[in-house]
Symmetry: C2
Subunit: 86 residues, 2 copies
């Protein structure tokens, strides 16, 4: 399998709209102490970068989509988005 091409992806996982995001709230609350104004709507999620070796880009993408849905995100509370890196 190691002679298959490698594709690098990022999976961006963010809390669904309406889901409480305590880390985002914590960031917002610390902003005044840093003298920063004008910042709102802070949402804190995860970014997972990974390499997939597969027959082609479509097959690699299928692997990443499955991984994102089953292991990297919680579908009840989070959304994910897959990005192919250059």
């Amino acid at each position: 399998m190691s002679d298959q091409p490698a594709y690098r992806f990022a999976v961006n996982v963010t809390p669904k709209p309406g889901i409480l995001d305590p880390q985002g709230r914590a960031v917002e609350r610390s902003l005044p102490h840093l003298g920063i104004s004008g910042v709102s709507g802070v949402r804190v999620g995860r970014r997972v970068e990974l390499t997939v070796r597969a027959a082609d880009a479509a097959a690699a993408r299928t692997v990443v989509d499955g991984l994102a849905a089953e292991l990297l995100s919680n579908p009840l509370m989070e959304l994910f988005e897959v990005e192919e890196l250059g």
Copy 2:
């Protein structure tokens, strides 16, 4: 200030190359149990999305760059990258 235009950004924070990433290792170790092969180089970071109101896009970007460097990332162990969202 609320009549200033709003810009939405994402800050992607990832562990520096060479820095131990226990979350990434945990993902890699769970892959065989899920019957997934061909995945490597897993790095787990954070993705922070936020809105900035500022006079223009350049001023908003400056606020985000400062926030990313001072609050959202640990410069000893992490890299960050700012992305303007559509």
